[in-house]
Symmetry: D2
Subunit: 106 residues, 4 copies
């Protein structure tokens, strides 16, 4: 399955409901944050969360994240890979291996 | 480009650094929330954000969201499409068209 | 020390810098979320966070929360106590004692 | 009204329900983030939120923030005022007046 197909499904869903008018980049960024909070709620009091709840909330985070990417004409997978390359330079394997330390303290 | 390829790149990146030990579902859910906050910061005081900053922070949200999906053996695009179907039932086109009202008040 | 004195200090700080123009309720709500993400970052990869960092980020959350309360003419302690009463009715002692279960599943 | 009295009410509420066992600093930090997301939801699609909803969600943010301060023996108002002083040095009046620019770009 490819992101392109998923994004097309999201676009059709939004267009049918004429919801594009609400999807400013700012509103979509707020929505990502709101849904990230609901995802976190699955883990509020314990580390084991019901997987179906997690899947549900994670889907909402991903949906708004993809809608924001699409709104800004960004290719979601390309920005992930571009960022990965930059992160790789900040966390070289030999220094970062097995450590969760932030790069400026490595 | 397909999610599968991106997830493979993420997996290799994490494995090289032996970071899987830090990636409990709970820690990844926290990370999604933290990065969602940084994404929102692009829009803190105004609605126009520098697009390169947004791309950068959105990439981080997507990265942790995909790592969480992968950790739980969830197909990211499948959970998006499954959720879209459920959302479609809560927001039927004829009722929801052009309105941002929550489903329980439609 | 009383909230009133703290709020007066916050008001003076904002007025001196003419920042009230940026402090719409929406922008303050975004700011609370952004700072909550930074607070959470202290606990991203482990449960023990440096206390001085936590104090710093918690102060930011509280600052924006108080500014939002003040912007809406809400008494922060009154809304806490009012909510506590409602929460008490949703979580009666005999049912909720020693359990982290959500009220609708108690 | 003083924070001390509010904190005492919160402590009694938690003790009666034996909820202190769930209130690790990490869990409280997650809870602040979760409630901040619910607060933001009041402003998801528009800038005008129903004030009673905002009061309700803001109360939850403040409650968890005060519980976290109390758990770490931090005086909430003192950390706000300490931080305000540091922020004042980063944003001197003459440079910051009427501008929402981040301090490192002032």
């Amino acid at each position: 399955m490819s992101t392109t197909r998923t994004i097309k499904a999201l676009r059709a869903f939004v267009a049918e409901r004429d919801w594009g008018q609400f999807h400013s980049p700012e509103n979509l960024a707020k929505s990502v944050s709101i849904e990230a909070g609901e995802l976190l709620e699955c883990f509020q009091w314990n580390v084991d969360a019901a997987e179906s709840n997690v899947a549900d909330e994670l889907a909402d985070v991903l949906t708004y994240a993809l809608l924001l990417a699409d709104r800004l004409d960004l290719d979601p997978e390309q920005i992930i890979l571009d960022k990965l390359e930059r992160t790789g330079r900040k966390y070289p394997v030999e220094k970062a291996r097995g450590r969760s330390t932030k790069y400026d303290q490595l």
